[in-house]
Subunit: 206 residues, 2 copies
Amino acid sequence: MTQTAPARGYHHGDLPNALKSAALEVIDEKGLGGFSLREVARRAGVSHAAPAHHFGDTAGLLTVLAVDALGHMRRVMAEAAEAETDPVERLAAVGRAYVRVSREHPGHCQVVFRTDLVDTDDPALVAAGLATFEVVRGVVADLAAEMNPDLDIDTATRLCWSTMQGVVEIEQKMKLHAHHSGTGLSDTDDTISAFTRMLVEGLRAR
Amino acid sequence: MTQTAPARGYHHGDLPNALKSAALEVIDEKGLGGFSLREVARRAGVSHAAPAHHFGDTAGLLTVLAVDALGHMRRVMAEAAEAETDPVERLAAVGRAYVRVSREHPGHCQVVFRTDLVDTDDPALVAAGLATFEVVRGVVADLAAEMNPDLDIDTATRLCWSTMQGVVEIEQKMKLHAHHSGTGLSDTDDTISAFTRMLVEGLRAR
DNA sequence: GTTGGATCTTTACGTTGTCAACTTGACATC
DNA sequence: GATGTCAAGTTGACAACGTAAAGATCCAAC
């Protein structure tokens, strides 16, 4: 809640951003299930109908949050990629970053894939998706340049992103392990590393 | 709506199943966003509070539907596996089946991963998840037996399921293609085939 | 035949999203 | 400085929702 404006009187100054912050607070605390426009308005200290004035409806606000989530993902993944030099380690690092962000802000990241809550045709959302795709694509392209010039980079990129998102869904939302031990953090990192190895080397014996 | 009972008078005969059918109808027509206990009750021709009597609350009913969805998935995947002999083609067929079911009944399949709507600790749900896992595991195990005895089968199985679910999320919920042509059905089948090839052969050149 | 329990209804309460009508504040123009 | 105009918020209302509690109805066993 970094209030950049006086926020006194009838006019708030920067209500849209205040509402976005409040919305993220709610989602972080109570998850997407506990999200409501009225609760957001309450936290921002405005009337219950104020959010609709700026974002139209629930989908309007959540779509903006989805764009932000994709942007955050993109930045974190780009940073993770820059920190590694070996192309395989880079892919693994990007995967770890993706899954880590998805776990640190579950609700916020889930919004991206909640097509029932979001305007999937929103240009900003589509652009944010493509921009994030480009980061993964860059990593895959570097990998291909060094290890396999014949690789279909677009397809491989989609495979990698699908796998990363699948990990978020399967490993974190389903209870497949009889003994789910500890925080599961290092477990997930190990999973990503193992998956990356298999993706690069293949399931077939060499 | 196969009504197995007279459904006359005060007692319905088999309300729980009727409610499940009605719920699937609603979800199929209006998606998970349009789902409500009251609408389900309306379709089943009972009072709005009747569902709660049998399923406790919303999560109770949806959890049962999630179990059914996993069971349906398991059966369809098992059939697809039996129809192929080559282990690689088998894996591809299972993947296609998974994605096809997920698209044919989007709402129903999404319930499985909606941890906010479902009781993830429900024993039947956990069991259904494990049973479905076993089907994929069997296919991966056969693949390993023929092509790579050293393969970590559990990890490879999780990789395959993660990828399949990731395809459902990424390819169907995000608009990454500048030109999204036609029905996208054959596109998705091609995607699965390409992904399977890459999974088996690896991203690295041989 | 009556008693008990399961099944379903009725009533009620609080919460939600969204719409329409209203008020307030700021700013530009005359 | 008065006036017009428009965006920004408020207020009030409405229908729909989930769920809890209490009442009605049927079946079955004794």
